[in-house]
Symmetry: C2
Subunit: 248 residues, 2 copies
DNA sequence: CGCGCTGTTGAAACTTGTCAAAGTTTGTGG
DNA sequence: CCACAAACTTTGACAAGTTTCAACAGCGCG
């Protein structure tokens, strides 16, 4: 464990760490909590972990005892099949929660890997359950977060099951754009933290296909692509590609 | 609402309805509850709804206020895209919970449709939250159920993203077989409640492809198929098809 | 400064989808 | 209870989209 990331208790940095002063609190677990309630949540979350690019917070098979809120950085989760194939099941950015896959079996079922140097807040799960038995707003919001994870997965199933390559990539870009926007970044210009292969894995495509579609989008003037630097030129058209024009 | 299924309060039938006497309790929400705890859960769940084949329990956009436990019968859930494409996101049988997609937004995001005449227990969600603040075992088990839904969806994403048609159908049959087994039915012989089109929609394939793969499996002696009646002849080989032999 | 990882592009192969036709089952109304 | 219509399934031939294989270019880390 120790070789995958460093653990640091935060005695005096509490103020800096506290949910109440965290810029991501409106996107994260504390949504809807009163100040006293948030203080109680802060009591739980006094551990942060920094994770270098390429390292994991947990791996499939690890014992589950906490969920993690992304404080900074970018993560992917991947599932491994017995036969060696693996697939990216999600990308996570600031304010999003990772690790809920482990609740059901007490074991994590996927790997969570940092795509850049990152930091997460460690949320001990049994203590979160304890507190959410006392704080209704926390309980309810946590349920919402889990539910949204299910709905998000449905969206990906939709994408994988019935969209063509161009539609998938368009949907992916639009989704990223929206999530960056919610975090105060530009809706139209961002760096991809993941490789073409990771995008392809997430979208059920080969990296070559992802690359080709990027090129096509660029030729059509929808986006400007320079390696990992993406500038979306025409969001409406991208949305149209995403949701429209099935070749009838 | 009234035209989609009938609602019946169950004054005196309580004993018959009670979770404590339900044959599915080991697969459903009451797992791990003591008798007094289960009695309190019974207090919540005094509504059942019968649903005719083809009718829905809820539709996308309906207000969310309850989740549903399948008591008998068989359901599918489907998501509809703006452009008219839709996709089956899951099949549900006895003891499984439907409707958790609605928690996050207070609105349901998919349709749940009975594939045969069915019956569900209505679990008012806010009362479930109330009770699970008091009953730790219930709280924890509910979290497990939601988590497993996420893990299940990851499995489907895996299947849609990186498996070929034969592997998908093999995985589907193995999964059904396991779920029937857990419910005391034959692992190797069952009726499919869904059409080829619905299977295809779930697996990201066209119905013709599903039909062809069934025929191929039959030719290879893996299963015997007569319309919706399936007999799995060689489960080990089916598992091998599922998880093995990627054309390298 | 160069080696390796990542990304791009082309041509051929393969899987799945599309269209079409015919067979089968199911359900309904007479 | 039968007949007919509608829905579902199977199968074939062909088309389309994606993958595979291969070669090369570019960026970035050590």
């Amino acid at each position: 464990m120790l070789n995958t990331s460093s653990v640091q208790p935060l005695s005096l940095e509490r103020l800096r760490t506290a949910c109440s002063t965290c810029g991501l609190r409106e996107l994260c677990l504390p949504v809807g909590l009163s100040q006293p309630e948030m203080d109680r949540l802060d009591d739980l979350i006094h551990l942060r972990r920094t994770t270098k690019k390429g390292q994991s917070i947990y791996r499939a098979g690890d014992r589950f005892d906490a969920i993690y809120a992304v404080r900074s950085g970018f993560f992917k989760t991947t599932v491994l099949l017995e036969d060696g194939r693996d697939q990216v099941t999600g990308f996570y950015m600031g304010g999003e929660l990772i690790g809920m896959d482990g609740i059901g079996t007490e074991l994590h079922t996927c790997d969570s890997i940092a795509l850049e140097d990152s930091e997460v807040c460690v949320i001990p799960f049994s203590r979160l359950e304890d507190l959410s038995r006392e704080v209704q707003a926390l309980q309810h919001h946590f349920h919402k977060v889990m539910s949204r994870e299910i709905v998000r997965d449905h969206g990906v199933m939709m994408l994988l099951g019935s969209m063509r390559a161009e539609e998938r990539l368009a949907a992916f870009l639009v989704n990223l754009s929206q999530r960056f926007t919610a975090r105060g970044y530009s809706p139209s210009e961002f760096y991809l933290r993941m490789t073409r292969e990771e995008i392809g894995s997430y979208l059920g495509l080969k990296l070559e296909t992802v690359s080709r579609v990027f090129s096509r989008f660029q030729d059509e003037g929808l986006v400007s692509v320079q390696q990992k630097h993406i500038r979306i030129i025409d969001i409406p058209s991208l949305k149209q590609v995403m949701s429209h024009q099935q070749p009838c």
